[in-house]
């Protein structure tokens, strides 16, 4: 189980990024997890939520985009989602083993919001 380590890496990355936005707080972080990445989105979410509970960022949302395995067919240049380990190109029936997506674990984006006058937990700005 290494989802805890991953959750903390994600929070680390958010922390680093937030240094560029001192007047804002993070509301959502977007992650891409591939089908072949060996990461369990639910376990990751569980760890992430446990780590932010009772902190200033307790409302920080984790948005996970699950990426299926995709192969590219050299014969006809078609890209398709692999289902049930069937690697035949749906367009030309060629056997396509070139995997182009599906093992990622990537930080996609961060959504930040400026602290308003009434924001809970807002930092005082001089």
């Amino acid at each position: 189980m290494h989802e805890m380590g991953i959750a903390s890496s994600v929070l680390e990355a958010v922390k680093t990024e937030m240094q560029r936005y001192p007047e804002s707080y993070p509301c959502k972080v977007g992650l891409r997890i591939g089908e072949m990445s060996a990461f369990d989105p639910d376990a990751l979410r569980f760890c992430f939520e446990a780590m932010i509970r009772d902190t200033d960022w307790a409302a920080l949302e984790l948005a996970i985009e699950f990426c299926p395995r995709r192969h590219h067919c050299h014969a006809c240049d078609h890209e398709f989602i692999v289902r049930d380990y069937d690697f035949r190109c749906p367009q030309c029936a060629n056997f396509a083993i070139n995997c182009v997506s599906g093992d990622q674990l990537e930080l996609a984006y961060l959504e930040v919001e400026e602290y308003g006058p009434g924001t809970v937990g807002a930092k005082s700005t001089q």
């Binding site: 977007g30 072949m36 060996a38 380990y85 093992d103 990537e106 930080l107 996609a108 984006y109 919001e113």
Partner: protein
């Protein structure tokens, strides 16, 4: 509300160190192989048989990872090659920084082949690049032929499947052809060798694969330099 793109890998720090290791391995002509399996599939046993078979003058070393104990290093030290234990103290996989740290007092120019035995675990080690030239997954015949389908990531990312403990085939209902088929479902064309690290059966197939890999790596190193 503003959306800022991040577009980077979560494990970018690990990947950076791994890339650095890979460049150093290439520079010094070291073939690094990362052995991964469930606990007890026979990684250390396979390495014992391998070290036993290699000529004494071969420039081979082993880093072996476990959560606790020096047991595996002690088993492997009998063969007079340099061996170092990495105890992770709880972490379920090796990462690139651990490799970097444990290589610090070895001279890479004195090595041609480096085996890394990962922590026994079929899931987590698959996510951590160690700078290796290839991952090798070991599956023993008592584990069930469906494992490639249950743990696709490691079978997908490994160059070779070593099916170990074939001496036990008469005693377990393990369909070795189905296991190979399942591995190749996840990883089309995957290379497979069938061995017993106990009796030595099939070991020549593994050594042949290893020597071919060493040869290919050598010519890669030569073209790179």
């Amino acid at each position: 509300m503003d959306r800022v793109p991040l577009e980077r890998k979560v494990l970018s720090e690990n990947d950076r160190i791994a890339a650095d290791l890979r460049a150093r391995f290439l520079e010094h002509g070291v073939l690094c192989l990362n052995l991964i399996s469930s606990p007890g599939s026979g990684k250390t046993s396979l390495l014992e048989r391998t070290l036993e078979a290699l000529p004494r003058q071969d420039r081979v070393a082993v880093l072996t990872g476990d959560i606790q104990t020096e047991n595996d290093a002690n088993r492997l030290k009998r063969f007079h090659f340099p061996v170092k234990q990495i105890t992770t103290g709880g972490t379920c996989h090796l990462d690139a920084r651990m490799i970097e740290r444990h290589l610090a007092d070895w001279r890479l120019q004195d090595l041609d082949l480096l085996f890394v035995e990962n922590v026994g675990n079929l899931v987590c080690p698959s996510s951590y690049d160690l700078g290796e030239a290839a991952k090798i997954v070991v599956l023993s015949v008592t584990e069930g032929e469906d494992k490639p389908l249950k743990y696709p990531s490691i079978f997908f990312k490994s160059d070779l499947l070593v099916l170990n403990k074939i001496d036990l085939l008469p005693y377990v209902p393990f369909d070795i052809n189905a296991a190979a088929e399942n591995a190749r479902k996840v990883h089309p064309g995957m290379e497979i060798v069938k061995v017993s690290s106990l009796t030595g059966a099939g070991l020549h197939e593994w050594i042949t694969w290893l020597e071919a890999k060493r040869k290919a790596h050598k010519s890669l190193v030569e073209t790179a330099s």
